[in-house]
Amino acid sequence: MNPLELLLVAVGGGVGAALRFVLDGTVKARVAGFPLGTVVINVSGSFVLGLLTGLGEAGTLPIPAVAVLGTGMMGGYTTFSTASVETVQLLRSGKTRLAVLNGLGMLVVSVGAAALGLWIGRNP
């Protein structure tokens, strides 16, 4: 990765992180008791990354664009650290079922979303 590409990937990550912050804040203001914002963000971001990498494989989207929008923007938009903290918070407050839903449910749905995105991207 050359310096310009790295800079663009970082800028993409900044945009993604800002999107996550605004979207999560908006969802949190409406839904209490379950970290729905992070779930929505991680599932949607996984779908878009699958789509981007699928388009990259099919040659529809140039690889540097996949890096900036995928590794950068979707990488910065989705987050593993907050998801892990929120699952632990649910466990600590005794909400075991919601914790499993958050930890395992989000994983399964995100992988499914990424697979769907990949499939659509590979078969334009």
Binding site: A17, F21, L49, G75, T79, S81, L107
Partner: protein, 142 residues
Amino acid sequence: MNDERPPHHRLGLIGLVALGGALGTGVRAVLTDLVPAVDGVSWAVLGINVAGAFCLGLLLDVLARRGPDVGHRRTVRLFVGTGVLGGFTTYSTLADDTARLLDAGRWAAGSGYALLSVLLGLAAVVAGLWTAGRLRGQERAR
């Protein structure tokens, strides 16, 4: 300086999160470039995610023990936690890599990689919280 708007409606704070996210994403991109995936499994992403989960658990607990989430504590949480660590770690790459492994028929590798990531992430948060408690104890003992 008494702004009543929620943080995610304030342009300055959104910019702060974006700056942190750009830094975290940049470091992640360099690390994943240096340590390429082996046979479709990215150990760099796993390490990044687990390290980021530990740091976020530690950070949030240290900040919460110091007082309410206002002023400079909130600024640090948003810049370092939401921004840098949020951008450093990634969920979409984990999901995409897992989907690829499963799509290639490598069910054991795919499900193993995904489950290991999530379980280690939880353990890392707990370790971060525990470390924050230890640090606080040492501070008090002084």
